[in-house]
Amino acid sequence: MDVAATRAPMRLVTGLAVALAILAGLAPVLPSYVVILMTEGLIYAIAAASLDLLLGFAGLPSLGHSAFFAVGAYTTAILVTRHQASFGAALAASVALAAIVSAAIALLVLRATGIYFMMITLAVALCAWGLAYRWVSLTGGDTGIVGIPRPRVPWVGLASGTLSFYYTVLALFVGCLALYLLLIWSPFGKTLVGIRDSESRMRVLGYNVFLHKAVALVIAGAFAGLAGSLYAYYNGFVGPSTVDLAHSMQFVLMVIVGGPGTLVGPLIGAFAITFLEKMVSVFTERWVMVLAAAYVVTALWAPRGMLGLLRAAR
């Protein structure tokens, strides 16, 4: 291993630690609406980074990630409003169910690759939207599930305040981030990158490509389920819009705007899109137009995201 390769993770960890310290330290002095936005940004960052494991590291361009996010969100909404589940139980059930659903979906979608994989995962997300919309007795249909209270956190109590909920989400975010880093530095993560770069080579070398991809899908699905669960608590409402096309694609956009395959990029992308939406909405009703422009500009001029542009400028 050369010096640069050993130094890069150290720089990455230092950078992330500084960023997290800023996120944690600034919150008490910021206005509460900014803290609310930061909470949303953190939740989306967990989901976007989990999609980056697939899209950027494993080379699996999944367009259906919102399906697992929605499984987590609906699981939490249903357990909390109808069965008074505790925070820990709702979180665990959401993660477990999202992992199970993504294991089942993995069996269906993994025989396809490339553009076929994209078509099929998108169709899965579209069907998930349809189920959320029509399976009224379970999901509440178009009206969704309302009145999800803020969680009661061990040692903290009811995280009903903006700050206490923010720190709860931040703590979970740090945990996820640590797991993501361990994952991409592990032999498993390196194998995924190998599969992305050349599937046939990895197969010849004796790696079980299908199994690695399936496990990656399950892991990413579980993290998306966790993000979905937090989103249900954050939003207080879960409806079909959680899994509609615009929402599904937003995760993909966040990953690519930041820089796929970098892990840090999607975190930045998630914050950028979240803050952009709220800031644009202040000035104009045409947020959708601005979002459309974000897609087109990213596709035409920044396919490797902001980090890609930075790297090219250097």
Binding site: L122, C127, M289, V296, L300
Partner: protein, 284 residues
């Protein structure tokens, strides 16, 4: 008995709409190998233009052809100006079509507002034909006829003409086709226009059948994608069979099990993917 005949007839007429929608998408996928999220937008614009043209001219068939041609022209411009620029990168093309779909959605909302429209069509659309004790609405008969005629024409074009052979060659191997001296870029543009044309026709017919309103572009997209995947991506005959199967399943599903009728969309796709990943008529 009456229930079964009526529901089957309704299912087939719904299948006609699904074929117009999915047939265009499968053609585009076959030749261009892109995830065209803007396909629902073609449908939406086709519908709105159809309503406007019918209001202006009073002639349904003029509105149908005019609107579909306008959508096709839009598709050609889209392909030339945007998709061509990022050719060969699946994700970038997908992001572009998503951006365009959002733009069209918001633009339609600006122009036509949030209220639903319905295209009444000629007076005889509201009447029905009585046959052996059963009644068949003329609008639905027209839908079936339009889809049937278009399928036969497209099938004949793809299987029996020289240009159709080029299209089939490009579906199987675009690079090799180009190496043989066939102008694949022009072919792609034409096929994209044709796919948009079909979606435009579907939009006009659909707005007469079930109206047109904001958000419908994303609502019908699941059907289009499932038709393409079940039929086999790129296969016109596959789309035809898949549309029939899904149209009937959806209709009986809604009538018999309204609560979980959306499984009638997801379940066939899951079953086909499990046993035949390339779809009913797809080739690996």
């Amino acid at each position: 008995m009456e229930f079964w005949v009526n529901q089957t007839f309704n299912g087939i007429s719904y299948a006609a709409l699904l074929f117009l929608l999915g047939g265009g998408l499968t053609l585009i996928f076959g030749v261009m190998k892109i995830v065209n999220i803007a396909h629902g937008s073609f449908y939406l614009v086709g519908g709105y233009l159809g309503v406007a043209l019918f209001a202006a001219t009073g002639n349904f068939y003029l509105a149908l052809v005019g609107s579909a041609l306008a959508v096709a022209a839009g598709g050609v411009v889209l392909e030339r100006v945007f998709l061509r620029a990022v050719e060969g990168d699946d994700l970038r093309q997908m992001l572009l079509t998503m951006g365009i779909a959002l733009f069209v959605q918001d633009a339609c909302l600006l122009v036509w507002g949030g209220d639903p429209f319905s295209l009444r069509g000629p007076a005889y659309f509201a009447q029905s034909v009585k046959l052996g004790g059963f009644t068949f609405p003329i609008l639905r008969l027209f839908m079936i006829a339009a889809a049937g005629v278009l399928f036969v024409v497209l099938w004949w074009f793809e299987e029996k003409t020289r240009a159709g052979a080029m299209v089939r060659a490009a579906i199987d191997n675009a690079e090799m086709t180009e190496a043989l001296g066939i102008n694949v870029p022009i072919l792609k543009m034409a096929v994209f226009g044709l796919g948009a044309f079909l979606a435009g026709v579907a939009g006009v017919v659909g707005s007469a059948f079930m109206g047109i309103y904001p958000g419908l572009d994303f609502e019908i997209l699941p059907y289009a994608f499932v038709v393409v995947i079940v039929g086999g991506m790129g296969s016109l005959s596959g789309a035809f069979v898949a549309a029939l199967v899904l149209g009937l399943l959806d209709n009986f599903g809604k009538a018999l099990f309204p609560e979980i009728s959306y499984f009638t969309l997801f379940a066939p796709m899951a079953i086909v993917l499990a046993f035949r990943p390339t779809g009913l008529f797809g080739r690996a």
